[in-house]
């Protein structure tokens, strides 16, 4: 196990000639960049293809001959990403600790004492230090998503792909988890798909809005200051209104 996996830093470029999904032409001549070591957020109306784009980067789409995903360091991307979904995807028959170690089990790697220590350490960091032996069914939604975050960190990959991971949580838990994710994923390259403009504004260094069919990307909103951004920040609220407006227009276009 290389300890410096996460500190690899490279940009990712997605090039799509033409991508058809479920018989709909989702993307045509789309170029999308993800900057290394930063949070890239992807906003858009539902059905615009955000998740499809994320799955393309994750290598989960079949038949993608007309699209390429390349890294600036020339290496392959598969094997260097980890994925966090809206559902926590904790396996109900495994304890929280075993769920965090599931990547090792799925690759049939031997689980060393160091691995277990690291998993326990990560669980302590997400606030589940005392719940490692519990089954997922006994945890609250927020705790389950914390465990999922620990599992994501355990994978120790430089790129983290998140598909609306906090959208099913209540407002307070969501803000707490955003803070936690921003802190723990500081060294990572993150692609966050979300439908919540405020979430994008709190966490994103580059915020893209995906709209239309075939979908196009607007010029990204770039904010280089430290994250998570303070909710008291009034410019955040002004920008939220602006983004909501754009999303509303996009949704109206899709419906037309």
């Amino acid at each position: 196990m290389t300890e410096n996996n996460t500190s690899q830093r490279f940009d990712i470029t997605v090039n799509i000639d033409h991508l058809v999904f479920d018989g709909r032409s989702l993307f045509r001549d789309l170029r999308f960049g993800i900057a290394g070591g930063a949070w890239t957020c992807l906003l858009g109306a539902s059905g615009v293809g955000k998740t499809t784009l994320l799955r393309l980067v994750a290598g989960l789409l079949e038949d993608v001959s007309s699209a390429t995903v390349s890294c600036s360091d020339g290496e392959e991307l598969p094997g260097r990403v980890t994925y966090m979904a809206q559902q926590d995807l904790l396996l109900p028959w495994l304890s929280v600790l075993d769920n965090v170690l599931i990547g090792r089990r799925l690759r049939y790697e031997t689980i060393s004492v160091t691995d277990i220590d690291r998993a326990q350490d990560l669980l302590a960091k997400v606030g589940l230090g005392g719940d490692t032996a519990r089954l997922p069914a006994t945890l609250s939604g927020g705790m389950r998503q914390r465990a999922a975050l620990a599992r994501t960190l355990m994978e120790d990959r430089p790129v983290v792909l998140m598909d609306e991971p906090f959208s099913a949580l209540d407002a307070i838990t969501r803000v707490q988890l955003q803070d936690l994710a921003a802190e723990l994923l500081a060294d990572h390259t993150v692609l966050l798909v979300t439908h919540d403009p405020l979430e994008a504004l709190r966490l994103g260094h580059h915020i893209h809005v995906l709209s239309g069919r075939p979908a196009v990307l607007d010029k990204p909103l770039v904010m280089t200051d430290a994250i998570p951004r303070d909710l008291q920040d009034t410019t955040l609220l002004a920008r939220q209104a602006e983004l909501l407006d754009r999303l509303r227009q996009s949704a109206a276009e899709m419906a037309a």
């Binding site: 094997g79 980890t82 994925y83 559902q87 396996l91 028959w93 990547g103 799925l106 690759r107």
Partner: protein, 251 residues
Amino acid sequence: MTVFRPLLVFVILIAAWQILVMLTGVQPFILPSPAKVATALLDRGDVIAGHAWITLGEILLGLILGTILGTASALAMGYFRTARQWLLPVMVVSQAIPVFALAPILVLWLGYGIGSKVAMATLIIYFPVTAAFFDGLRRTELGYLDMARTMGASRWAILRQIRIPAALPSFASGLRVATAVAPIGAIVGEWVGSSGGLGFLMLHANGRMQIDVMFASLFVLAVIAVVLYFAVDALLKRLLHWQPDTQPSND
């Protein structure tokens, strides 16, 4: 409470039976009273027990064989496309022909011993186990599979670590049904041709107008079936301890 309620139901049923016999004055060779059946059970206990062991052995062997074959078939179908294409029709055909119709042939081929009865029980158990387990295997939540693929899991690892455990609740449902129907296979086999077992004893007693012995055998068979069902159910609950029971308690 869990023991009390079934016990109460049992006592009420026996009482109703006794009252029915007393009120109607029905002949004992049509419907013997519970007392007569109890006497037969005690007097002929050794004979009934001997036959009961044979039937129990047939059921258990059938259950084990049927479960092994069913599990293997479901796993093969879940993992190999070719197995899916070839085994699915076999499974359907195995159910299209009623086991009752097969019984004489099985007795002809496998003889009067327990072989033909075990085969019958196996056949009857095979389908529910295979169908339920296979159904569970192909309904794995997509998110789990996505996660496993990004983690670099092989197809085998996904089957072993995710699809099989996720399919266990379905497998358990199939096995519960199988356990409930397993005695049918053994008894039908014994009726068609045998020299031992509760089914044989019932026919034998029927021929000699020993209706009380017949009822006593039926009672023992029912006890075997119920005990077996609850034993399997308890075993499955232990295996699936992680699965929360979401039936509301005040339902």
